[in-house]
């Protein structure tokens, strides 16, 4: 009995010492899509930097898998702490609507980052998921356009290309494909073939590249709309012995992309700016706490990486760090 009492006293004292200072600051919570992904880890760093500058207490909590079953309990536990604003990357555009509405009804303002709920157009009076104040993310159509322009330049504006994509229905990758095709309309010498869907399986993406090449020996380029699509397509190119002849553009830049670009496996990569998403997200949250109006959509930029600039420090810092 004594021991238990002692232990409790100890814990209480420790707790009191630990965080007594964190009382009066405004609180913002950031809930990533998953915690074990370099993209979100980088986003956390940006959010922390903004929180430090603005004198905001930042709570960072998330689940290990990109799955609503895992994310929703975390969301509820965070809501229970009554932060002023929750920044969240929803793991499903439909399934997170009801849980986020509960948080909103509990008096917490919602801003979504990277991914969105419903149609992603908030505060326009339409749809079930209209209540978040803003959507802070890369403009994926713009990113796809940049990928298209970079690829067109690399292949000299002529030949056949295609998009290696995950599956239909994912908002971000659909938008990248849309932007890519839009950019290609300016190059009449380029023919865009049917999109190939690989279910986020690099092995399948590699096999598809070889199949497309078998039918179209004049294939000159491929756009991998996410990491595995690009890596798979690049592997397919390597297996054909066509490295440097069939150009590969990747989307997203975790650390391994540096090696892939240096070894020539991938020719170019479009980096999103997750650090900026976190930073801008917290800045928007601070504006909300101050009672200001914020834009319902806040876009962040991109960096195009290739062998010529990969060693420059300002490009390197755009790689998603672990």
């Amino acid at each position: 009995m004594h021991k238990i009492a002692l232990a409790l006293a100890g814990i209480t004292a420790l707790a009191a010492a630990g965080a007594a200072s964190a009382q009066d600051k405004p609180t913002v919570a950031l809930i990533p899509g998953l915690t074990t992904d370099a993209f979100y880890i980088t986003m956390h760093k940006g959010a922390q930097a903004a929180a430090d500058e603005l004198g905001i207490e930042l709570i960072y909590q998330g689940g290990p898998e990109f799955n609503p079953t895992v994310q929703v309990p975390v969301l509820q536990a965070v809501t229970a702490r009554q932060p002023d604003v929750i920044l969240i990357a929803p793991t499903d555009k439909q399934q997170l609507i009801a849980p986020l509405r509960q948080a909103h009804d509990a008096g917490v303002q919602i801003i979504t980052v990277d991914t969105f709920i419903d149609d992603g157009k908030y505060q326009d009076g339409e749809g079930e998921g209209d209540f978040p104040l803003s959507y802070v993310a890369s403009d994926n159509v713009q990113g796809g356009r940049m990928a298209g322009e970079a690829l067109a330049k690399a292949v000299g504006g002529e030949g056949k290309v295609y998009v290696s994509n995950v599956k239909p229905g994912i908002s971000t990758t659909d938008q990248r494909e849309e932007g890519f095709k839009e950019a290609m309309q300016a190059f009449p010498g380029i023919e865009v073939l049917e999109t190939q869907f690989n279910d986020d399986d690099a092995n399948k993406a590699a096999a598809q590249l070889q199949a497309v090449f078998a039918r179209n020996p004049d294939l000159v380029g491929v756009f991998g709309a996410n990491l595995f699509s690009a890596i798979g397509a690049a592997d397919g190119v390597k297996a054909l012995g066509k490295s440097g002849e069939i150009r590969v553009v990747a989307f997203d830049t975790p650390t391994r992309i540096v090696d892939d670009i240096k070894s020539g496996l991938i020719d170019m990569a479009i980096a999103q700016h997750p650090y900026d998403i976190g930073y801008e997200g917290v800045k928007a949250a601070a504006a909300v706490i101050d009672g200001q109006q914020i834009e319902p959509s806040i876009g962040t930029g991109f960096t195009v990486m290739d062998a010529s600039n990969i060693d420059q420090p300002e490009v390197r810092e755009r790689i998603y760090s672990e």
Binding site: A19, P64, V72, A80, A98, P99, Q102
Partner: protein
């Protein structure tokens, strides 16, 4: 009751105080956790952890899914088996329910909900029956048979869902997943009903006693005239049925079915059963134990987020609790003089 209780807590009693501690440890541990989180949140943030309906509702909602999967799993584990397929059976049920409701909601929303519930339970029975038949009649080891079904149910779920989530827009469904009855969220109320039914079945009925008998000594159970094959088949159907109910609640809470709904819950559900005192060798375990086990996991995970512990420490914490539970389970026999019969 008497027989079941005797088998479940077969402590010899040389050390009465110790025996009590071992038997009651999940309860004591849960209370200890609550005290810990309560004092931590009061001291650090000046807020209460448990004295707030929102937190209690959230913890109960969190516990509901692993608990539902764990209830059926308790039966299977007591009988000496294991069911690895429940996570994806839950997803399959969720997806089928959502699909059925997509087609029927335009006709009549209330009828659509009824049909959806029926469909969820009915579809879950199919993998349950196949599991049971494989294991009881064809002598497939439970670990392998249900691992195979894990893949089949997963694939079937994704096929029916077309690889994505299946949204349903139905006010009745939304109400079932998000409304409250006397302050209790409806999903929690449904889960409690299932807990009561399962507790009665295991502790009070002949069916429950046979389950302990089969897990304690299969050959003796056969000799004493229990229809072990039929019983084993029913156990896996109960397990799948619980997964079907979990899938149904999932679809209601999120207004959508998803094939991967139960994927992260499988291990939590087995952990809940084990923390609750069931032995993976069969022969012991209780529904109340599983309830406490699920609550312990939910309180730890909710509490660690609430007091803002770095996410990766949460894996470590839950892992340690599981290991400690099994260690206590192991030492039970040594401390109380009980012996575990090898098969």
């Amino acid at each position: 009751m008497a027989a079941a209780a005797r088998v479940a807590d077969d402590e010899g009693g040389q050390h009465p105080a110790l025996a009590f501690l071992i038997r009651a440890w999940p309860w004591l541990f849960l209370i200890g956790l609550c005290v810990f989180f309560e004092s931590w949140s009061r001291a650090s943030y000046g807020v209460t952890f448990l004295g707030n309906t929102f937190n209690l509702q959230s913890i109960a909602l969190f516990a509901a899914f692993p608990l539902l999967l764990g209830l059926g799993q308790t039966f299977v584990i007591i009988a000496g088996g294991i069911d690895l397929s429940v996570g994806f059976v839950m997803g399959l049920a969720a997806v089928v329910m959502a699909r059925v409701m997509q087609y029927t909601t335009p006709v009549d929303p209330a009828l659509a909900l009824a049909l959806g519930i029926l469909a969820a339970i009915a579809i879950a029975m199919v993998p349950g029956w196949i599991n049971g038949t494989l294991i009881s009649r064809l002598r497939v080891p439970p670990f392998i048979g249900t691992l195979g079904m894990f893949g089949v149910a997963r694939g079937a779920g994704f096929l029916i869902a077309g690889g994505t989530t299946v949204p349903v827009n139905n006010p009745w469904l939304f109400a079932m997943g998000n409304e409250r009855l006397f302050g209790v969220p409806i999903p929690v109320a449904i889960t409690l009903l299932v807990v009561v039914a399962m507790h009665w079945t295991l502790a009070q009925s002949k069916f429950g006693q046979y389950t302990y008998a089969i897990g304690g000594n299969r050959i003796a159970a056969v000799r004493s005239g229990i229809n072990v094959r039929r019983h084993t088949l029913l156990l896996y159907m109960i397990s799948a049925g619980c997964a079907g109910i979990a899938g149904m609640i999932y679809t209601a809470r999120f207004s959508a079915g998803a094939a991967q709904a139960g994927e992260p819950i499988l291990l939590d559900s087995i952990a809940a059963v084990v923390i609750g005192g069931a032995s993976l060798f069969g022969g012991s375990g209780t529904i109340l134990g599983t309830l406490i086990g699920a609550l312990i996991i939910a309180v730890i995970q909710f509490g660690l987020v609430f007091i803002n512990v770095e996410p990766f420490w949460q894996f470590v914490a839950v892992g340690i609790v599981i290991i400690v539970s099994v260690l206590i389970d192991q030492s039970k026999g040594r401390l109380t003089g009980e012996r575990k019969d090898a098969e």
